[in-house]
């Protein structure tokens, strides 16, 4: 029987070593389960007066009774709990783009239990400041995401805010789970803003459903015969707490608007050195430049004109080289309307300005 056990263990070793070749990245994970009893019993064979005697098995307190039924006990110790885990950014490489006002965007992390016992983990999300330093080479611009929420993909089907819990429950040895920080981007954020976030994982006791209490490290306290806990995350003596960082990058349109006025002619000087006298023609040029990373949609330009000028048609629209005209003097839906002195362009059909392009509106007025 004992022989069989040894053979089985030898075979298990062979299988294990073959497995190690295939899955070498997991070779150092977990280790012997916490709570495992490791037994050892030495056998002494000897002879007296040339005659072989019945073997004697060892006992922690000493045994001298020969044979397998001596009652000698194996020398045992209990494997304690080495708390070890990793927490890294995962999912989308680099920062997650958000637009101002966008809700429910997320960054992703992966927590792996590389210790030798099942554990819970308490999770704390937080916003970071610039002083923390760069995350993914991007430094926080001192803006925060709002309404940070943590979701743990315990059911391994991706982010599911209706089901996923805010803590890691019963993560077995070698088990890994994805964690999401879901947040809202305030509408006050501007293109290029960086909001870095931190996820902290604190090891907690497993057991009943729900989050256990934070695990207490037994390092430095007296060894007990029970299962002691040693915090050893990353292979060194630790504190049972790990942090990882990721961030959001605000991607938005960034519009700058300029308006210039150029005298074209007056009734007396014509086009040569015209003066701004009644009857003179002035050309207004409005430029809308998008230096952001996103399309600026549904642009409507409203220009409140002086009551002392009269606009002329056509109004020329050049959107990144695409030229069109419209008229304000009639009540059609051609995108140029005047209401009182307020000239509006873009109210009938959407005008979108792509990133790194310019919309130019050109029209002339006559000074009354």
């Amino acid at each position: 029987m004992k022989r069989l056990t040894h053979m089985a263990s030898w075979f298990a070793r062979l299988v294990a070593s073959a497995t190690v070749v295939l899955l070498s990245q997991h070779a150092f994970a977990a280790g012997t389960d916490a709570g495992t009893t490791i037994s050892n019993q030495a056998q002494v064979d000897y002879a007296v007066g040339g005659n072989a005697q019945t073997f004697i098995l060892s006992d922690p307190a000493g045994n001298s009774i020969p044979g397998g039924a001596s009652g000698a006990l194996p020398t045992e110790f209990l494997v304690d709990n080495r708390v070890d885990f990793t927490l890294v950014e995962s999912g989308l490489a680099g920062h997650t783009p958000v637009t101002p006002g966008q809700n429910g965007e997320y960054v992703q992390f992966t927590l792996q239990n590389t210790g030798n016992a099942t554990q819970d983990f308490r999770l704390v999300p937080s916003n970071l400041l610039a002083a923390f330093g760069p995350v993914n080479a991007l430094t926080d611009t001192e803006v925060d995401m709002s309404a940070l929420q943590v979701y743990v993909d315990n059911d391994a089907n991706g982010l599911d805010t209706g089901v996923d819990q805010a803590f890691v429950d019963e993560l077995a040895e070698d088990g890994a789970v994805d964690i999401y920080i879901v947040a809202n981007a305030d509408v006050t954020l501007v293109n290029g803003d960086i909001a870095n976030v931190n996820l902290q994982a604190i090891v907690a006791d497993p057991g009943a459903a729900g989050l256990g209490t934070d695990t207490v490290d037994d390092f430095g306290s007296a060894d007990t015969a029970g299962i002691d806990v040693v915090f050893a995350e990353g292979g060194a003596l630790g504190d049972g707490i790990l942090d990882a960082q990721d961030g959001f990058i605000v991607s938005s349109a960034a519009l700058s608007i300029t308006k210039t006025a150029t005298l074209i002619s007056d009734p007396f000087n014509g086009a040569l050195n015209p003066k701004a006298i009644p009857g003179a023609v002035v050309e207004y040029v409005i430029t809308v430049a998008n230096s952001g990373a996103e399309v600026a949609e549904n642009i409507v330009i409203t220009d409140t004109l002086s009551a002392d000028v009269t606009p002329a048609d056509p109004i020329e629209i050049d959107n990144n080289g695409a030229a069109s005209t419209c008229t304000q003097s009639d009540a059609d839906a051609d995108n140029c309307e005047i209401t009182g002195v307020a000239l509006s362009i873009g109210s009938d059909a959407a005008i979108d300005v792509d990133p790194a392009t310019t919309l130019t509106i050109t029209f002339q007025v006559t000074i009354d």
């Binding site: 022989r3 040894h6 053979m7 263990s9 030898w10 298990a12 070793r13 062979l14 070593s17 073959a18 070749v21 977990a30 280790g31 012997t32 916490a34 495992t36 490791i38 037994s39 050892n40 019993q41 030495a42 056998q43 002494v44 064979d45 000897y46 002879a47 007296v48 007066g49 040339g50 072989a52 005697q53 004697i56 098995l57 060892s58 006992d59 922690p60 307190a61 000493g62 045994n63 001298s64 009774i65 020969p66 000698a72 194996p74 020398t75 045992e76 110790f77 209990l78 494997v79 304690d80 709990n81 080495r82 030798n116 037994d218 060894d223 007990t224 002691d228 040693v230 050893a232 292979g235």
Partner: protein, 168 residues
């Protein structure tokens, strides 16, 4: 009343003292020839009164994967005749890995097994088949250690065998 209590305490103390002294030969039943004992310990670094670090052996109570434990087998001849051809055979638990070169036993030849204790040979003479490829055995392949005492153990004498193993 007080006197009785004091007597009670002193009796208790004496009985403890006896059991401590008598722990080895006389407490064990007189039958058999050798008293065999195995203890498992680990090293702990302590700082002594002079501020110097010292390594001491303590009971293996807190052991986590990666830690090394030290097994010490002692065998004392409690009879009045010599014990001949004394051989100590110690299996290495499946979750343990023998620490290369750590087996120690004064006056003994130390051999190992990689096949569950069937064949024993010196460490350098063993080989194993790893996924069909035969290679020299390494410390992690050992399943048993055997100490073969070169000389008889005289009556009243004691021998020791020791090795280290790392918890996987």
């Amino acid at each position: 009343m007080k006197t009785i209590q004091q007597i009670g305490i002193s009796i208790l103390f004496i009985s403890f003292a006896i059991s401590a002294v008598a722990q080895e030969p006389s407490q064990a039943p007189a039958q058999g020839h050798l008293l065999v004992k195995t203890v498992v310990q680990k090293e702990e670094v302590i700082v002594d009164a002079n501020g110097e670090e010292k390594v001491q052996l303590v009971d293996a109570k807190t052991v986590i994967p990666g830690d090394e434990v030290i097994y010490t087998v002692t065998f004392q001849n409690i009879s009045d005749t010599p014990a001949e051809n004394v051989v100590i055979t110690n299996p290495i638990a499946a979750d343990l890995e023998y620490v290369d070169g750590s087996a120690f036993g004064p006056g003994s030849d130390i051999v190992f097994s990689v096949d569950g204790g069937t064949v024993f040979a010196a460490a350098g003479e063993l080989s194993v088949a790893d996924a069909g490829v035969v290679r020299p055995a390494e410390a992690k392949d050992f399943t048993h250690i055997r100490w073969q005492m070169q000389n008889e153990i005289p009556a009243g004498s004691q021998g020791v065998a020791r090795f280290r193993a790392r918890l996987q």
